[in-house]
Amino acid sequence: MGFFWWGIFPYIVGTILVVASVYRFVFRGKSWHAPSTEIFEKKWLSIGSRLFHWGIVFAFIGHVMGVLIPISFYEALGISDHLYHVGAIAGGGLAGLMVVVGLIVLLIRKVSNPRLSVHASFADYFTIIWLLVVAGLGTYMTLVYNTTVVAYEYRVTIGPWFRSLFTLQPDVELMLAVPLLFQLHVISSFILFAAIPFTQLIHMFSFPGRYPARAPQQYRARDGYKNN
C-alpha cells in the first residue's frame, strides 16, 4: 500500500495534471480563466480573496523552503534546526491561518449570496472545500502538532522523497515512517493537484508575469498584411 501512495500515486497525479491541462489549453481554450465573481459581490471578496491568495503565495514560498530546498543548504548557511523551526512555525502558521480564514470567508460568501450560489458548480465547491482540507491539515500540523508533539523534521523525510519523485526513483522508504497527519496532508495535496485541470484552479498557470515588460498598446496585424 505504501508503495502505491508514495511510488505510483504521485505519477498518476502528475500525468493527469499535465495531460488534462494541455488538453484544456488546446481544446477548451475559452474555458481557461480566473472565474471571478467580483461583479456580483465585492465587499467580502476583498477580504476573503486577498487573505486566501496572499496566504497561499506565502505558503507556497514556505513549501519551497521546506520541501524543495535540501536541509544541507540550511546547514551550510549555519541556520540551526531550532531557528529554522521557529521561523517555519511562525511564518507558516501565519500563512496557513490567512489561507484558512480566507477560504472560510469565501465559502460562506458563496453559500449565502444567491447571486453566487446559483452559479456555483460542484467543481467550485470542491475546490474551496478541498483546499480547506489541505490547508487545515497543514495549518494544524504547523501550529498544533509541531508545538505540542514534536517539531517534525520533514526536511529529512518528505523533502528528499518529494525531490526523488523528479528523478523517477521515488524513495518510498522515507515516507513510511512519516506521521499519519503529514501523510494525509501530502495525499490530499496530490488529490488537489489532480483536480487543477478540471477546476478554476487552472488560472494559477496564467499569472501574467510578462505584463510589466510588454508595450502598453497592442496592435495585431493579419499575416501578410505588409506584403500586399
Binding site: I39, S49, F52, V118, P208, Y211, R222, Y225, K226
Partner: protein
Amino acid sequence: MRIKAQVAMVMHLDKCIGCHTCSVTCKNTWTNRPGMEYVWYNNVETRPGPGYPKEWENTDRYKGGWTLRNGQLHLRAGGPISKLANIFYNPNMATIDDFYEPWTYDYQHLQNAPKKESLPVARPISMITGKYIDKPEWGSNWDDDLAGGSEIVPLDPNVQKLQEHIALEYEKTFMMYLPRICEHCLNPSCVASCPSGALYKRDEDGIVLVDQEACRGWRFCMNGCPYHKVYYNWNTHKAEKCNFCYPRTEAGLPTVCSETCVGRIRYIGVVLYDADRVKEAASVEDPKDLYEAQLSVFLDPNDPEVIEKAREAGINESWITSAQESPIYKMAMKWKIALPLHPEYRTLPMVWYVPPLSPIMNHITNEQDLSMDGYIPAVDDMRIPMEYLASLLTADDTTVIRRVLLKMAAMRVHMRAKTVGGMDEMKTSKLLKEADTTVEELEDMARLLGVAKYNERFVIPTGRREMDNNLHYKQGACSIEDLAPAEGMVTYPYERSDLG
C-alpha cells in the same frame, strides 16, 4: 511617420431623438445571451444624468483612462506592477448593481395560473439568480427623459462640476441624448490595462477587440476604460466589448446601430493617422489642448505625400479613396464641428459628437426683423449650458463649443435665408466671421448633415480579403459563434425555454 487607417464614427446629436433603436438592434445582435443580459454595447443616455453604468464619468471612483504625471502618461488605476499586486481583487471595479440587475418576466404564469378572481400578473424575475425580484430599481435607461428628476440628475459628475446652479424647475430644465458605443480609441487604456494582452487594436482598421482565447478574466479593462465600455460576461468569465460590428464593416456595411438609426444621426468613415504621434498628442500638459492635439495626429488623405506613404504602409487604393471621401474627416477634421467625448481621459476616442443646438432661453422680441448677427449672442444663451457641453466634449473649453454652435447656427440661418428668405445676406454677416466659416462650407455641411444619403453617410471600404482566406476566424478573436450558446452555460439559473 507610421500611417494607419482607422474606422471612426460621428454622431450628430442634434438629430438624436432618443428612441433607443440603436441599443435594441445592437442588443439583439450581440448581447442577447446568458451572462450578457446587463450589457449594452450601445446605450443611449439622457443627459444630464448618471448614465450607464451609474456615474461612469466619476474617474475618482473607477479610475479609468490615463493621467499625466511629470509629463508621462500613466494609467489612472495604476501601472502593471500595481495591477499585479491587486490581481486578487480589483478595488475600482463596478459591480452589477452599478449597471443593474437584469430581469425578465414570469410570462408562463399568465398561461399556467389557476382560475382566480384576480387577473394573473407576470412578476419580474432576476436573470442572474432566477428568483423573483419584488421591485426592479434601476436599468440602463431608467432615468430616460430626466425621469427621476432632481433626485437623479445631481448624480451626473458633469453637473456636480458646474459652477452655476442648474435649475430643475420645469421651465428651465434642459436635456439631450448621448448615444454611446466603444470609442475604439487611438490610445486605448483598456488595452494597456489588460495583463494578458488579450485586448488589441486591429492594425488594419483600428477596431479594438478582446481575444476570447487569451482573456483570463482579470477584469482590469472594465474600469480601465474610462467610458466603461468593456464588460464582464459572468457566464464565460471573459471580457467582451463592442466590436464595431466588424463582420459587417468588413463587408462594407455600417454597424447595426448605424444601419438602424431612425434619426440617421450616425456617420462612418475611414481616417488616416500617424501612429507615431499618438503618444505625444495624448501627453500634452493642459487638458484643454488635447482636442487640438488629437486633431494633429490625423493626416490629410488628399495630400500626395500622405497618399504615397499610405501606399508604402500597405493601405490599398479602396481604403485611400474611402479616406478621401470620409464623412468623418469632413466633420471632425475639416469643418471641426464633431468633437471627441471627454478628451481629458487622454485615450484619443474615435467616436465624435456634433453638439446639439437647443432652444434659446430668452425670447427674441423683434423676431420679424432679427438680423443674422442677432444669432451671435443667442448662441450664448441656449438652454443647454455651454459649460455642460464643454464638460462632455472639450475638457471644459467653452470657446470650442461656442465656435461649433455658432457654425451650426450659421448653417441653419443661411439655409433658412436661402430657402425661405427674409434674412439679410450671409456673406455680409458678422456671424460668418465669428463662426470662422464660409458660405460654401455651410452649404456642404447642410448637405452632409441634412440630406446625405446612405452612401455618403457610410463610406466603408471592405475588409482586406486578399490578406486572409479565413477573414473572421484567423485571429480567433471576438467571434461569438462558439460562445453563444456559451461554454459554462450549465451555470445559467434556468432553461432558456422557461422564459416563454
